[in-house]
Amino acid sequence: ESHTQYERVGADVTMKCGSMDWDAAVTWTANGTDIDESHLNGSYLILKNVDLSQSGQYSCYEGSSWHLKYQTYLRVGTPPKEPVLMCRSNNYPKGFYCSWHLPTPTYIPNTFNISVIHGTKDMVCEKDAVPKNRCHIRYLQLFSTVKYKVTLTVTNALGKNFTTLTFDEFAIVKPDPPESVVAKPVPNNPRRLEVSWQNPSSWPDPESFPLKFFLRYRPLILDQWQHVELSDGTSHTITDAYAGKEYIIQVAAKDNDIGTWSDWSVAVHATPWTEEPKHLTTEAQITETTSASTSSFMAPPTTKICDKGAVVGSGAMAVCWTAGLVVAAYSVLFI
């Protein structure tokens, strides 16, 4: 008959060999390896100040017959610390989700229990299969001033802990970042970049619940961002870009009326259009130019013609170095 035993890190553990008398002759093993007699007090096994490495299977055998008298699985761990809980609505007005985790591991199994109360009403937060530490709730009412109270309790064999969040419907609204951000140069316009994006796919009804957007952009070589807030539309033309400089661009979204801004979208890079002749510079000219310039860029090996500046961001970032560097080198000369 096998047991499981949970003990705290640092505790002193005494294991009895089942129903054997204290003065019986026994042998203890830990994961199959004999344990030295110095750890024994009669037939009891004494483990002082246990640590995580001492978790394992402990078995006790009768001295002469080697009959297995007792077996237990020792699991060393800690009681749970106060869990970290977060609730958010990225799909307003459908509902919201809560997710949680422990700040430090306990090394033993934990059970999480979540309760959601709206005023006096108990609501059910349906646990997601993936990810595990997450549940979601559908709003039964909209525009309520009554707050929601979410309590998360975590329990394991060594103790329990809990945390509570109280919030109102509007406060937790935070959309996901905009998707499919694209930045393109505008032909024959050396200071323009055309940026477009899409509403996050998790936002269920952008027509009735429109989003507003915040665009930020800067040339790679500068630290200062430029900002533009846009109350509608999913595109914008930057008209004050530095000619020939590669830009980094991001967009964030917010419900038009309530809640907070999303995280920034994936960054996209783009360089404004420049005139053709510079674009088709020969190798000789590049070498000559870059050696004369004050730029610290390296001379590119070839004059690669590529789709300069047009980059689609969605995790993939194709940076067109060659032509961009040539142009940048020229621009530095002209500043």
Binding site: L142, F143, S144, V146, E207, S208, F209, D257
Partner: protein, 199 residues
């Protein structure tokens, strides 16, 4: 009434909705500012929970997305009419309580009251457009919208005021959403969803 909506009526409705959305947006911003001033001036805790106050129309609604256009307009109108009376009452109490001590708060209250009245009128316009009869105001001169409150203590009146303003702020957001729904053209017939009704 005719099921189909004339193009000019559709345009007028969309125009009224856009203006209504702007009105409600401005009203909400002013109510939020007023709330901050009120909380500070009255020495209240901004996070205090206020139980549902009698006579204050709650913005909370179930199955909001299933409401018809007419329902939205009627519920909004009833709410803002109630707020008109409630704010007038608050203004009166404010003057009694403080006299000239805080003209700023009184002015802000009066400004919001004006916007609430204007919005209620705007809703009536929208209802008129749908050739809906505009419901008469509840009760006559003798009994106002909200029942005259039992003589509340000063503190209770302050909390009540907080409840009124909070609920009004919620309504302002809801009204924007309601008007956006109203402004949507219905796909098949070209009428607004829920507004076309047979007699």
């Amino acid at each position: 009434m005719a099921a189909a909506e004339s193009p000019s009526a559709a345009l007028r409705r969309r125009d009224l909705c856009s203006r209504g959305i702007r009105l409600a947006g401005k009203m909400r911003a002013d109510v939020v500012d007023l709330l901050d001033a009120y909380v500070e001036q009255q020495g209240l805790d901004a996070s205090a929970s206020v139980a549902a106050v009698e006579g204050v129309p709650l913005a909370a609604v179930e199955r909001w997305d299933e409401q018809t256009g007419t329902q939205r307009l009627l519920e909004n109108l009833a709410a803002y009419r109630a707020f008109r009376a409630l704010l007038a009452q608050m203004l009166e109490e404010q003057r009694e309580q403080l006299g000239e001590a805080d003209a700023g708060l009184g002015r802000a209250l009066a400004a919001v009251l004006l916007q609430v009245s204007a919005f209620a009128y705007h809703l009536e316009e929208l209802l008129r457009l749908e050739s809906r009869g505009i419901p008469g105001e509840e009760g006559d001169e003798e009994e106002d919208g909200p029942p005259p409150p039992p003589r509340l203590s000063l503190f209770e009146r302050k909390l009540r005021g907080l409840g009124v303003l909070r609920e009004l702020a919620q309504w302002a957001v809801r009204s924007v959403r309601d008007l956006r729904q109203l402004a949507k053209p219905s796909p098949a017939t070209g009428t607004a969803p829920g507004l076309a009704e047979s007699p």
